[in-house]
């Protein structure tokens, strides 16, 4: 036996074990601290600092001090700072490689504190948040009603006025040419002279024998028939000319009226409408609420790994990827299932400027499917300085990863608001002071989110600093805002984390909507008037030229009247009863 065993070896083994224990006692605190810093920094994608770590063996527990977690979007700000965090651990479960904390006490929690050094991590980039897709811009709207650039509008639009003028200017010469041809074809001075000669011959014949007189009578009938026919054709031509002139005059009149039509059409096209503006509440609060929603969803996604660990199923067995190990862990059914990491109960106290907000959290684990219970939390702040009640409660249920159900409710009573920027566009509206009563309920079932907010603002003072004084609508809105001392707001957000819609209602709509509506009506009138003037200026010369062109038709009219007069004179005075002047028949 002695040839097989080495007695001194046992001593060496004991020596090595003692060495390991000493090493543990000396360095384990800093090793645990650094490991936690590294792992949490990697998960948060921003630096997490822990100033003190104390791992005690009897009783088994871990105490962390001075935890600072950087806001990934603002490297000089801590999203949370925790004074002390202590967990009492279950030693028996450690043998099963499970970190089960029966109770965790988190005290001295402060939010959004300043950092001395930047918390940006070198190896990874700071994560960029998804930005809010709907960005209503009241400033853009205001600038759209600031100036009317008629020149720019007219430069890119085809005007009905100009089209009509062009069409008439083409038509007038064509008509004139046509009338000139018609006049040439109508009986004129030559024909009438021939009639006169025939009548003169008849006059001579009337003093002859009976046979001559009879043939003269037939000639009279013939001349009268020809003259009547010519008179009718001239009359008909004159009527036609009158119709042409009337038609052209109507078209010219239309061209004169066309600037009004153009101005109306362009006004509708280029002036903003109260409907296009949407509701005023959305302009003021839309971006703010939308950004809060996006911000919350980004944080939700970032914290999701803490409540639901990534796992894949291989041949019906759950396979998880450990954070720091080679290979994969395949998990089997446990007789008394427990997650690898669990904090059963946590008492948290948050230090606000106004006092302490205390709360409880239960079942903090990334493996809710194993535990079978959701994460629950409840925070309440009462008798806070200058604030009414604050209640925050909710549950994060990822027991079935394919059927998650998360609920958060927040209730605020008389929460003071100070210097809150509502719209950050060219028309920054500030809520200087006010009190907020808020009821918020947010629920996410799988990938469907629904958030309902009912907020009542009282003792409100709104202002709009650094305004463009030249903008009349801005001035009007500002005056209306100054009169508001209370309003209510209802918001609902429905959709998926990637695509959601915001619906906002407020009694501000009635007040400010009316102001904006009236202003837009005035603006439209002004725009129409300016456009009409500009179009008339542009088309004025062409319209005058048209009227001048129309004078050519008067000449045709006079010519036809003259011809008609000549023919009529021949018929009435020379041929029929001229009373000594005309042809005197013997019968």
């Amino acid at each position: 036996m002695s040839s097989l065993l080495r007695a001194r070896g046992l001593g060496a083994f004991v020596f090595i074990v003692l060495l390991i224990v000493c090493f543990w006692l000396l360095f384990i605190d800093s090793i645990v601290g650094k490991t936690l810093e590294n792992v949490s920094s990697r998960m948060l994608r921003a630096r997490v600092d822990i100033t003190g770590t104390d791992l005690s063996l009897f009783p088994l527990g871990l105490k962390l001090e001075g935890i600072q977690a950087t806001n990934p979007q603002k490297p000089m700000t801590n999203v949370v700072e925790i004074e002390t965090l202590s967990i009492s651990l279950n030693p028996m479960k450690l043998l099963d490689r499970k970190l089960i904390g029966e109770e965790m006490i988190v005290s001295g929690v402060k939010l959004n504190t300043h950092r001395k050094k930047s918390g940006a991590i070198k190896t990874g980039q700071l994560t960029s948040e998804k930005s809010f897709k709907f960005k209503p811009d009241i400033g853009l709207f205001l600038s759209s009603v600031e100036n009317i650039d008629t020149e720019q509008i007219l430069a890119k639009e085809k005007l009905l006025t100009l089209a009509l003028i062009q069409s008439i200017r083409k038509e007038i010469p064509q008509k004139q040419e046509s009338w000139q041809k018609k006049l040439n074809n109508l009986p004129g001075k030559k024909q009438f002279e021939q009639y006169r000669k025939r009548i003169d011959q008849l006059k001579k014949a009337s003093q002859g024998d009976l046979q001559t007189i009879i043939s003269a009578t037939a000639e009279v009938k013939s001349i009268r028939g020809d003259l009547t026919k010519d008179i009718n054709s001239i009359k008909s031509a004159r009527d036609e000319l009158s119709r042409d002139i009337a038609l052209l005059k109507t078209t010219i009149e239309q061209a004169k009226q066309a600037p009004f039509e153009d101005a109306k059409r362009l006004r509708e096209k280029y002036s903003p409408s109260a409907q296009g503006l949407g509701n005023v509440t959305k302009l003021f609060f839309g971006e703010k609420i939308g950004t809060w929603v996006e911000h919350s969803l980004n944080w939700y996604e970032r914290l999701k790994p803490f409540v639901q660990r990534a796992a894949t199923i291989r041949k019906q067995k759950k396979v998880t990827h450990p954070l720091r190990a080679k290979g994969v862990d395949v998990h089997f059914k446990e007789y008394k299932p427990l997650p690898e990491f669990l904090i059963r109960k946590a008492n948290v106290s948050v230090n606000l400027e106004q006092g302490e907000l205390s709360g409880k959290m239960q079942n903090i684990t990334p493996e809710q499917d194993v535990l079978g219970n959701p994460l629950m939390f409840e925070f309440a702040g009462q008798n806070l300085e200058g604030i009414g009640d604050i209640n925050l409660a909710g549950s994060i249920n990822h027991i079935k990863p394919e059927k998650t159900d998360d609920i958060i409710t927040l209730s605020l009573k008389a929460y003071p608001l100070r210097n809150i920027e509502l719209s950050s566009s060219n028309f920054p509206v500030m809520l200087d002071t006010g009190l907020l009563d808020l009821e918020l309920k947010a629920r996410k079932i799988q990938e469907t989110i629904r958030v309902d907010i009912v907020a009542g603002f009282t003792s409100v003072r709104l202002s709009a600093p650094q305004q463009n004084k030249k903008n009349k609508l801005a001035e009007t809105l500002l005056a209306s805002l100054a009169k508001i001392n209370k309003f209510t707001l209802k918001a609902s957000i429905v959709g998926t984390p990637d695509e959601h819609y915001l619906k906002l209602e407020s009694d501000l709509d009635k007040l400010l909507g009316r102001v904006v509506g009236e202003f837009i009506q005035q603006y439209k009138k002004r725009m129409e008037s300016e456009l009409k003037m500009a179009i008339q200026n542009k088309a004025g010369l062409a319209l005058t030229a048209l009227e001048q062109d129309m004078t050519g038709f008067n000449m045709y009219n006079q010519e036809l009247t003259s011809r008609l007069g000549l023919a009529d004179n021949l018929l009435q005075n020379e041929l029929l009863t001229g009373a000594g002047k005309g042809l005197r028949l013997p019968f």
Binding site: L5, R6, G9, L10, A12, F13, L95, K326, G327, H331
Partner: protein
């Protein structure tokens, strides 16, 4: 300090039977192939220290097998995962999974199980082959080296004698 270390090695290396060297290599195979921070490696360490095995061979073997394990990790992973996901073994693994000692051993990790299993399978063949190889080496190669002219000259050198007196390893050669 070097003298102290040399004496420790001399004490621990006093046994140099081929079987002791081969057994040391076998233990090195397990400790080198499997992840270092495993429960079974404490048992291996205890056995290495209390059994009369050649520690130099164990340390040397550890270095070699640990290096080889980096290349063999995918094989260990595939083997371990294959076994862990067999339906007919599920009952067996479930029983083990519910025992703290096996949970501490982290057998449910594909690399731990695969590497442990492969090293245990290779343990006996390695022991047998290395045992025979050492015997053959001592009978043929070592005898030839000792009798060689060059070795005679080296052994006569004062520097070599000084080294022998310092390390105490001269007897092995």
């Amino acid at each position: 300090m070097i003298r102290l270390l040399a004496r420790l090695l001399r004490v621990l290396n006093s046994e140099s039977e081929p079987s002791q060297i081969s057994l040391a290599l076998g233990f090195a195979l397990i400790a080198g192939f499997t992840p270092f921070y495993s429960l079974h490696n404490i048992i291996v360490l205890l056995l290495v220290l209390i059994l009369k095995v050649n520690l130099s061979a164990f340390i040397l073997g550890m270095i070699v097998f640990t290096g080889a394990s980096y290349a063999l990790d995918p094989l260990f992973h595939i083997t371990g995962l294959f076994l862990l996901t067999r339906d007919y073994l599920e009952g067996f693994w479930t029983i083990m999974y519910n025992l703290s000692v096996f949970r501490l051993e982290r057998f449910y990790n594909s690399v731990v199980l695969g590497s442990l299993l492969i090293s245990l399978i290779l343990l006996y063949p390695l022991y047998t082959v290395s045992n025979r190889a050492i015997v053959k080496y001592r009978e043929n190669v070592l005898t030839w080296i000792r009798k060689s002219r060059i070795m005679q000259i080296i052994r006569m050198n004062k520097l070599y004698k000084a080294y022998q007196s310092l390390s105490g390893l001269g007897e092995d050669l």
